[in-house]
C-alpha cells in the first residue's frame, strides 16, 4: 500500500532555488510573485535567486504552434544555463505552462540523449553558453505545500468562517499541465490532486470534490488567444462553474495564473452576458492564487498582494475569515494617492 502511494509523491528540494518568472503571472498577478519571494525569504529563511537575465520559456507560443519544438527546447536550455551560471541546481518555474514545458524537455532528453546534445549544440551556436540540467524541478506551489506546516504557526488567520465556526469550503484547480502531461511531476498525480488540497486542509479549510474538478479551465491557447475562438474557452470554464455551483464554494484556489485569470474573468463575462453568477448573492466566487492565499493568512496587506485587480471582489471572503482591510486604500497608487475608481460591471455586483 505504501509503495502504491509513492507514485503520488514527489521530491521537492529543501533550499537554494532558481526562480523563473511567468509571463502570465506577472501580467495578471504580479503581487503573487512578490509574495512568493517574500514568503520564501522572510518567513522560511530560504535562498532563492531572481535572475535579471531570464525571459519567457515560450510555452504559450509553443502550445499555440507558433514556436517550433527545437526553438523552445533551446530557450529552455538558455534558462538552465542561467541557473548553472549562478550555481543553482533547483529550478522553480512560476507558471504551470512553463512547468509542463520544462518537465517535457527533461523527459525527452532522458528518452533521447541525442536530443539533449542537439540542444547543447544549438545553445552553443546561438549564445556560446553551456548548461546543466537541474537536480530538481518544483512548481512554487510544491514548495509552499512542502512547508505548509512550517508556515501554519506564523499565520494570523485560518480557513474558518468566523461567523459559523465551520471550515471554509474550497474548490481547487491544479491546471492541466501540472500533472496531466507527466503525472509523476505533480503531488498526488492527476488522479488525486493534492498540492493545493494539502494547503487547504493544513490551514483549516475543507476541499470540495466536485464532478468537473479535473476538467480544463478552458484556456486552450489558440482557443482563447484568437478572439473568434473564445467561445471554446468560456464554454469549458462554464462547465466547471455549473458543476461546482451546488457545493457553494467560499472561494476557488488555483495553481496556474492562466486558470486563475479565466476563472475570475469568465465569471464577469457570464454575469454580463447571461445575468448568471455561481454564488447566491450575485458577487461571484472569489478566485485566489496560492501565493495570495498564503500571504493573506500570514497577514499581508491585501492591496499589496493585488486583490484589487481581480474582477470578482474578495472583501466578502476576507470578512468571513476575519481579515481586516482598509477600503480607502484599495484604489490608491504606491504613494497613497487615490486613483479614480474602476467602472462597475452592469450585472456582477462588486
Amino acid at each position: 500500500m505504501k509503495r502504491f502511494w509513492n507514485g503520488y509523491q514527489k521530491a521537492i528540494a529543501d533550499d537554494h532555488y532558481f526562480y523563473e518568472r511567468s509571463c502570465i503571472r506577472q501580467t495578471f498577478f504580479p503581487g503573487s510573485e512578490a509574495a512568493f519571494l517574500k514568503i520564501l525569504r522572510e518567513e522560511l529563511g530560504k535562498d532563492i535567486c531572481d535572475n535579471p537575465h531570464q525571459h519567457t520559456c515560450t510555452g504559450i507560443g509553443y502550445h499555440s504552434d507558433v514556436v517550433p519544438f527545437e526553438t523552445t527546447m533551446t530557450v529552455v536550455a538558455r534558462l538552465f544555463s542561467l541557473m548553472t551560471e549562478c550555481g543553482y541546481r533547483n529550478y522553480v518555474p512560476s507558471c504551470v505552462t512553463s512547468f509542463g514545458v520544462f518537465t517535457e524537455m527533461l523527459a525527452k532528453w532522458e528518452e533521447e540523449p541525442e536530443l539533449k546534445e542537439k540542444a547543447r549544440q544549438y545553445l552553443w551556436d546561438a549564445c556560446r553558453r553551456e548548461f546543466e540540467v537541474p537536480d530538481n524541478i518544483a512548481h512554487p506551489s510544491d514548495i509552499i505545500f512542502k512547508f505548509r506546516f512550517d508556515l501554519k504557526p506564523k499565520m494570523k488567520y485560518q480557513l474558518v468562517n468566523r461567523f459559523t465556526g465551520k471550515p471554509l469550503r474550497v474548490v481547487e484547480h491544479i491546471g492541466c499541465h501540472y500533472a496531466k502531461i507527466f503525472t509523476h511531476a505533480g503531488i498526488g498525480n492527476a488522479e488525486f490532486p493534492y498540492v493545493l488540497a494539502g494547503m487547504i486542509e493544513a490551514w483549516g479549510g475543507e476541499v470540495i470534490d466536485y464532478p468537473e474538478r479535473r476538467h480544463c479551465c478552458g484556456f486552450g491557447f489558440r482557443q482563447y488567444l484568437v478572439q473568434e475562438n473564445r467561445g471554446y474557452s468560456i464554454a469549458n470554464t462554464q462547465k466547471k462553474f455549473e458543476s461546482m455551483e451546488s457545493y457553494e464554494p467560499d472561494f476557488i484556489l488555483t495553481n496556474c495564473p492562466g486558470c486563475n485569470m479565466f476563472l475570475d474573468k469568465w465569471q464577469y463575462t457570464i454575469a454580463e452576458m447571461e445575468h448568471k453568477t455561481y454564488d447566491k448573492e450575485g458577487y461571484g466566487i472569489p478566485v485566489l492564487t496560492y501565493e495570495e492565499l498564503t500571504g493573506l493568512l500570514l497577514g499581508y496587506d491585501p492591496w499589496s498582494l493585488g486583490l484589487q485587480i481581480h474582477q470578482v471582489q474578495c472583501e466578502r471572503l476576507m470578512d468571513k475569515i476575519g481579515i481586516p482591510y482598509n477600503p480607502a486604500e484599495k484604489y490608491c497608487d504606491f504613494t497613497g494617492r487615490r486613483l479614480p475608481s474602476p467602472e462597475k460591471p452592469e450585472f456582477l455586483k462588486v
Partner: protein
Amino acid sequence: MNLIEHLKEDVRFEESLKACMNCGVCTAICPAAEFYDYDPRRICDLVQRGDEEEIEQVLRSDTIWYCGQCMSCKTRCPRGNVPGELISVLRKVSQELGLFRHSEKGRQQVLLMNSVHRNIMEIGYCVYPDRVDPDYHPEQGPIWRWYHEHIADIAPKLGANYHGAGPGALRDISEEDLQEVRKIFEVTGGTEFSEKVKKNS
C-alpha cells in the same frame, strides 16, 4: 517527400502515436470534442492508416486547429499515445507546407504570429500587460481597463518593476538578453518558420 515522412521528421511524432486501438478514451475526456465537431480518436486512426490523401485533407482542414492542448488525452490513453502532441506535429507540418492557408482556423496562425511570436521577439515575453488591449479583451472587464490605464502607478505597490532595469516582475529585458533569444530563434529555425507562415498567409 511524402507526408508521413514529413510527420516522422518531427522528433515528437513517434512518441505521440505508438499504436492506437481506437478505444475513444481520448475523445471521451477531450474538452475540444465537447465544443467542436472534433474527435482525436479519428485523427489518431487516420494518421495510423497512413493514407497520404487523407492526411493531406486533414492538414488542409479546420479539424487540426480545434485542439486546446490541454493534454488530458495523454493522461488517459491506455496505449500511451498523445493525441494532443500528434496534433501539434500535424500543425507544424501544415504550416511548413503552407497547407494551413486552406482552412479558416488555420489562417488564424498569422494572428498568433503577429501577437505571441512578435511579443517574444520584441520584448522577450509571450504576454505583457501593455499588449493586452482592453478593447480587444472585453472579457477582462472594467478592472482590467482600470489596471491597464494606471499600471505605472499601481505596479510598484505590487512589488513589480514595471519597465524597470534589473530583476523583478514586468521588468524590461535587456537588449543583450533579447539578442540571445533572437539568435536562438534564428539558429533553431524559429524565425524562418514564422516568416514562412506569414508569407503563406
